[in-house]
C-alpha cells in the first residue's frame, strides 16, 4: 500500500531539482547533525511512499550494511588521536575511525534511501519528459535500462515456469543437470533481452522519437506552486552551501573529531531540516487541507 504523495504531482523539474539538491548534500556533507536529519527525513519519506516494503528493506539490507561498514572501517583505518585500545595486529583502534565508519555508512544508507524515494517519485515518463529533448538517446537508454530490471525479473519467472512444465527446471537432477538447465534459462533470457531491446528501439524510431520538430503530449504544467517550491529549494540549498563555506557546518574526523557548535550551526541545521522535510511537509499540509474541506461540506 502507498500513500497519496502530493510532492509527486509537482512539476518534474521541481522533483528533479529537489532530489539533486538533497542527494548532493547527503553525499558531500558528512556533518553528523546534517546526516542524522537527512537519514531520518529520507527514511520517513521512503516509508510514506513505499509503505511496509521500505521498512522491510531497511531492516534487511540497510541495517546490516550500516553495522558492517561501521565495523570494517576501524579494522583497516587506524588514524585518529584518541586511542581506545590496540587491535591484535598491533595497530591502534581509534575513536575517530569508528566515528568515521559510522558516518560513512550513514551516508551510503542515506543516499540509497533517497534514491528509493527518487525512484517512486521520478517515474520514467517524467524523466523522459525532462531530458527527452536535451539528450534523447541517453534518456531513452536510461529509462529502458531502469525498466529492464523489473521486466527481466517478470520474464525469467515465465521462462522458468515454462521450462518446469516440460520437466526442465532447476529443482531436480544432480548438480550438473541443474546447472545445464539453469544455463538454458539464462540463454533464453539473453536472447529475449536482446530481441526486446531491438524491438523497443525500432518501435520508438517508428514513432519518430528524437526527431527535431516532434512534439510530445505531456500532462505537466509549471504552476505558481512549482515556482514557489523551486525558489524554496534553491534558497535552502544556497543557505546550506553558504553555511558549509563560512564554517558554520565545519566538521572534521581526523586527527581528532571536531565540529562547529555555534548559532550559525543551529540555523544551518534548521535550514537543512527544512529542506529535507519539504516533501513530507507538503503532504502534511495537503492532508490537512483535505480534512478541512471534508469537515466544511
Amino acid at each position: 500500500m502507498s500513500n497519496r504523495d502530493t510532492f509527486s504531482s509537482y512539476h518534474p523539474a521541481v522533483n528533479m531539482l529537489y532530489f539533486t539538491a538533497v542527494l548532493l548534500l547527503a553525499m558531500l556533507l558528512m556533518q553528523p547533525v546534517c546526516q542524522v536529519i537527512s537519514v531520518v527525513s529520507a527514511f520517513a519519506y521512503s516509508v510514506y511512499l513505499n509503505g511496509g516494503k521500505a521498512i522491510r528493506f531497511s531492516l534487511a539490507y540497510m541495517l546490516p550494511m550500516l553495522i558492517m561498514a561501521a565495523l570494517i572501517n576501524p579494522a583497516f583505518n587506524h588514524q585518529g588521536g584518541t586511542i581506545l585500545t590496540y587491535l591484535p595486529s598491533g595497530n591502534p583502534l581509534t575513536l575517530e575511525s569508528i566515528l568515521y565508519g559510522i558516518s560513512a555508512a550513514l551516508m551510503i544508507v542515506t543516499v540509497i534511501t533517497w534514491f528509493s524515494c527518487y525512484n517512486a517519485v521520478m517515474t520514467s515518463d517524467k524523466f523522459v519528459y525532462l531530458f527527452g529533448r536535451v539528450i534523447p538517446a541517453l534518456s531513452l537508454i536510461l529509462s529502458m535500462a531502469l525498466r529492464f530490471v523489473p521486466r527481466f525479473n517478470t520474464q525469467i519467472k515465465f521462462v522458468a515456469h515454462a521450462q518446469r512444465c516440460i520437466g526442465r527446471d532447476t529443482s531436480s537432477g544432480n548438480i550438473f543437470q541443474r546447472v545445464r538447465k539453469g544455463i538454458r534459462i539464462i540463454s533464453i533470457m539473453v536472447t529475449w533481452a536482446l530481441e526486446n531491446a531491438i524491438e523497443t528501439a525500432d518501435s520508438m524510431k517508428a514513432r519518430g522519437y528524437g526527431l527535431p520538430r516532434r512534439t510530445a503530449f505531456s500532462i505537466y504544467r509549471f504552476e505558481r506552486r512549482d515556482l514557489y517550491a523551486a525558489v524554496y529549494i534553491v534558497v535552502c540549498a544556497a543557505a546550506i552551501i553558504a553555511g558549509a563555506v563560512t564554517g558554520a557546518l565545519y566538521y572534521r574526523y581526523f586527527p581528532t573529531f571536531r565540529m562547529a557548535r555555534d548559532g550559525g550551526t543551529i540555523v544551518a541545521s534548521f535550514i537543512y531540516a527544512a529542506l529535507s522535510a519539504m516533501p513530507m511537509a507538503i503532504n502534511f499540509r495537503e492532508g490537512r487541507k483535505w480534512k478541512l474541506i471534508a469537515q466544511r461540506s
Binding site: G81, N91, T94, N174
Partner: protein, 248 residues
C-alpha cells in the same frame, strides 16, 4: 555421474597441478643458490657476536638481481647485517638503548601539510625527545618503537610488508607518509646510519641510538638519501637513467 567422469578427472588434475605449482613455485631460486656457493662466501662464516641470540647474521645475495631474498641491496662494510625477525628467539636479558622521534623537517614545509594536521607538529618538531629505553635481548628497532609509542600514548600505524620481511611505518602521531608532499614519510637512523632495510630486521645492540625522522624529500633533507637509493655511485641503475657523477 559416469558421463562427467572425464571432466571431473580433468578438473582434479588441473587443481593438483596448480596446487603443486603454488607450493613449489616459491622455491625456484633455492637450488641455484646452493649450486653457486661463491655468491656470498664472505658473509657466510661471519662469527656471531656474544650479545645476539644464536642466529648467524648472513646475507645471501642473488647474483642475478644483486639483492638478497628480501630485495635488499648489499649492506655497506662495517654495518650490521639484517637479521630476520622470524629467526630470532627473544631473551629475558634487559638492555638499554636511546630512542627519539622527530619531525622538524615539517616545520619548513608547513604549507604542504593539511591545515587540520598543523596542531600535531610540535613547535620544536620533537615528538619524543631522546630518551633511554629498555629493550630485551634480540629485539628489533621496530619492537622498541612499538612498545615506547604504546607507553607514551603516541599514535603509531604500521603495515607488514612480506616481500621486505619487515614492517613499514605508515604514520607516527597521526603524521602519515605523503602528508607533506609525495616524497614524505618516516625513516630511521641507528648510530648516525640510515639502514637500507626495514626496522624489523635491525637487531638492537646495547647503547644504540635510534632516531626516527620525518623526511619531506625522500631522505635528502635528513641525510638518508643513500639508504633509499643505493650506496654505490655509478651503479648500473644510475647509468641506465643517464646519471653521471660530477667531476670536480
Amino acid at each position: 555421474m559416469r558421463k562427467h567422469k572425464n571432466k571431473i578427472i580433468a578438473a582434479v588434475i588441473i587443481i593438483a597441478a596448480l596446487t603443486a605449482a603454488f607450493i613449489f613455485g616459491g622455491r625456484y631460486s633455492s637450488p641455484s643458490r646452493n649450486a653457486q656457493p661463491s655468491a656470498a662466501p664472505g658473509a657466510e662464516p661471519e662469527p656471531v657476536s656474544a650479545a645476539t641470540p644464536p642466529t648467524e647474521p648472513s646475507m645471501v645475495i642473488d647474483p642475478e638481481t644483486g639483492k638478497d631474498k628480501y630485495l635488499t641491496d648489499p649492506v655497506p662494510e662495517g654495518k650490521p647485517l639484517p637479521i630476520e625477525p622470524q629467526d630470532v628467539t627473544l631473551g629475558d636479558a634487559e638492555y638499554t638503548c636511546f630512542l627519539s622521534v622527530k619531525c622538524d623537517t615539517i616545520l619548513d614545509n608547513m604549507n604542504l601539510l593539511d591545515k587540520e594536521k598543523h596542531e600535531l607538529v610540535p613547535d620544536d618538531g620533537v615528538i619524543l625527545p631522546l630518551t633511554e629505553v629498555t629493550f630485551y635481548e634480540g629485539e628489533s628497532v621496530f619492537n622498541v618503537l612499538q612498545r615506547e609509542m604504546k607507553l607514551n600514548r603516541i599514535h603509531l600505524e604500521f603495515m607488514n610488508v612480506p616481500i621486505y620481511n619487515s614492517v613499514y611505518i605508515e604514520g607516527i602521531n597521526n603524521l602519515y607518509e605523503f602528508d607533506v608532499g609525495e616524497l614524505s614519510g618516516w625513516m630511521y637512523k641507528v648510530n648516525g646510519w640510515f639502514p637500507n632495510y626495514g626496522a624489523s630486521r635491525y637487531q638492537l645492540q646495547p647503547g644504540d641510538v635510534v632516531e626516527w625522522l620525518y623526511t619531506c624529500d625522500l631522505g635528502r633533507d635528513v641525510g638518508g638519501w643513500d639508504s633509499v637509493n643505493g650506496y654505490v655511485v655509478g651503479a648500473d641503475w644510475l647509468e641506465e637513467i643517464g646519471y653521471e657523477e660530477d667531476e670536480e
